[in-house]
């Protein structure tokens, strides 16, 4: 019964009627990052910046993004690295506020962005479950109800009462997954979390993700696995440089994405060849310069 690799063969979900209730509505969304402040800014650095007066220190991670997800829909967001996919999920989860535009989300959200986020190494697994639940805003009664389920699903035995720092990385990942998926949300946000732990747990976790996908009213999935897109999503969006390039039937959008990435790969190769011929490797493709920004 344990099915291992590849998504189970199922018919792709049919397109949904457009008059279904709206779960997510995004209008003219724009998210701007200031490059003035980054993780490693110090007073020293910012005094230097003050003297330099760098003008171009703002960058739009998302711009003019408009779409909606109705009940019964599962939307795939695909695109190259740094296109703004993860930023989009963060906005939908309410973690990042838009710089412009409006995002309306109706329903309880769970983002599997939260896998083991901020486990406190010195606390026991059980204390971490309690803390994570409180961070996610689950009330005490719900937590009492789901804690046994989490402990059972994570399957880490007596270690549940030992500090997280004594856990193996597999145990940590299992506990993180169990917490993140303990509650069935109305709206599920997924960011490539489908491979976790060992083979057995991977199968079990995939099973659980599928369950959540089926029971959620709306799903937004960011992934590089095109099989998932065509198999489980009834609509897809292609993001490039923060803008929606294509939207519609997953198979068609995936085809456009493939074409684009082939082309840009060819362009990059050509640029590299040119650089090699000119005898220097200094002119890297433009994407490389931004790689630190798109998280």
């Amino acid at each position: 019964m344990v099915e291992l690799e590849g998504p189970p063969a199922e018919a792709a979900p049919a397109p949904v009627r457009s008059d279904a209730p709206v779960a997510i509505e995004v209008r003219d969304l724009g998210v701007q990052y200031s490059l003035r402040f980054t993780k490693k800014t110090t007073l020293n650095r910012s005094f230097i910046n003050l003297f330099r007066r760098e003008p171009a220190d703002a960058f739009w991670a998302l711009r003019d993004v408009t779409f909606r997800v109705v009940h019964g829909e599962s939307l795939a967001v695909i695109g190259p690295n740094g296109a703004g996919k993860s930023t989009l999920l963060q906005v939908l989860a309410g973690i990042i506020t838009p710089s412009e535009g409006v995002v309306d989300v109706d329903g309880r959200i769970s983002s599997l962005l939260t896998l083991g986020a901020g486990f406190d190494q010195d606390l026991s697994g059980r204390d971490n479950i309690r803390l994570a639940g409180a961070f996610m805003g689950l009330d005490a009664a719900t937590m009492r109800r789901i804690t046994p389920t989490i402990v059972e699903f994570a399957d880490i035995g007596p270690f549940i009462d030992a500090p997280i720092k004594t856990y193996s990385s597999g145990m940590r990942a299992r506990l993180g997954f169990a917490i993140a998926t303990a509650v069935d949300p109305d709206i599920l946000l997924l960011d490539e979390v489908l491979a976790t732990g060992d083979e057995t747990f991977r199968a079990k976790s995939k099973q659980r993700v599928l369950e959540l996908v089926r029971s959620a009213k709306g799903v937004v999935l960011v992934t590089h696995d095109m099989n998932w897109v065509t198999e489980f999503c009834n609509r897809a969006i292609l993001l490039e440089k923060g803008r929606i390039i294509a939207e519609g039937d997953p198979i068609e959008v995936v085809a456009i994405h493939r074409e684009h990435s082939e082309r840009s790969k060819a362009e990059r190769q050509a640029a590299l060849d040119r650089a090699m011929q000119e005898g220097g490797v200094s002119s890297l493709p433009p994407d490389a310069a931004r790689s630190g920004v798109g998280r």
């Binding site: 800014t41 409006v102 309880r108 962005l113 901020g118 010195d122 409180a134 961070f135 998280r295």
Partner: protein
């Protein structure tokens, strides 16, 4: 699915931010509705502080005593200064100051060290510095143990009912602690060297406050520096130290008018820093 959650199930997210009053109301609602989270964070904090050193929580008792000893050697033994029962005078200032300083140094990194949580879960970030400040109360509470031991052993004749007013003075200080920590924790997200800077500023602040000396002595000593004298008038710690000295060392009532002025000032300051925090909050997830 019925989830009577503490987080809203519907939200609208836009670039518009509420006005000053709206931000303050939001902050109050956030802190009140996330009391349980704050409690867990405080418990976790205390639990950890007690376990990672050999003597554990005993340090909260030993620390102020050692510090008192150092200042006593410095002032009484080397400089031949200090008044009668000077160790008690010192201790009644060191205790609240240690609370203030540790509240700030613990709280400064409360947001920036929760970086993964901030990036991955939507929750009111205000709970982080608030929890740090609340956990800091334990530092003060434990420090009362050596204080009372000291009084029972050596200064029995100084024990007065005014000791019961310690919590009142401490409550005023708590508001001020909170204001400072909320502000610095937000700024530290953008400038990681706020912590280094704060250490030195705090030290200078301590020496420029009537902690080791009375206000009169300090004013007299700094008579050639009018700037320091003016700062002394604005310094809330001038009033706070005087109040602690009054209720612990002198056994008299504190200067109520001055204390209420500091309380009002601290409340206004806390409101201001909360607004600053709330204004900066949306950018935390982007910067961290």
């Amino acid at each position: 699915m019925d989830l009577t959650a503490e987080a809203p199930t519907h939200f609208r997210s836009t670039g518009d931010r509420p006005g000053i009053v709206g931000l303050l109301r939001e902050a109050v609602v956030e802190v009140l509705s996330r009391r349980r989270l704050i409690r867990y964070l405080v418990q976790a904090d205390l639990q950890k502080k007690g376990t990672d050193t050999l003597l554990g929580n005993l340090w909260w008792v030993i620390d102020p005593l050692l510090q008192m000893l150092i200042y006593w050697i410095l002032v009484s033994v080397i400089f031949q200064r200090g008044g009668p029962d000077y160790p008690l005078f010192l201790f009644s200032a060191i205790l609240p100051w240690k609370w203030f300083a540790s509240s700030i140094s613990d709280g400064i990194t409360s947001v920036s060290s929760a970086e993964r949580l901030v990036r991955q879960i939507q929750f009111p970030k205000l709970v982080l510095p608030v929890a740090a400040v609340v956990a800091g109360i334990a530092n003060f509470a434990f420090g009362l143990i050596p204080l009372f031991a000291l009084m029972l052993l050596f200064y029995r004749d100084r024990i007065e009912v005014t000791l019961l007013l310690i919590p009142v003075v401490a409550a005023v200080q708590l508001v001020f602690n909170m204001g400072m920590t909320v502000l610095l924790s937000a700024l530290n997200v953008f400038y990681r060297d706020i912590g280094n800077l704060a250490r030195h500023v705090l030290r200078l602040w301590f020496y420029l406050s009537p902690a080791l000396f009375t206000l009169e002595q300090l004013t007299h000593a700094t008579r050639e520096f009018p700037i320091i004298q003016k700062l002394l008038l604005l310094n809330p710690w001038a009033t706070l130290f005087a109040a602690y000295h009054a209720v612990i060392y002198e056994g008299v009532l504190p200067d109520w008018v001055a204390l209420i002025q500091v309380l009002i000032g601290a409340i206004v300051f806390l409101a201001f820093t909360t607004i600053v925090f709330k204004r900066l909050e949306p950018t935390f997830a982007k910067v961290l």
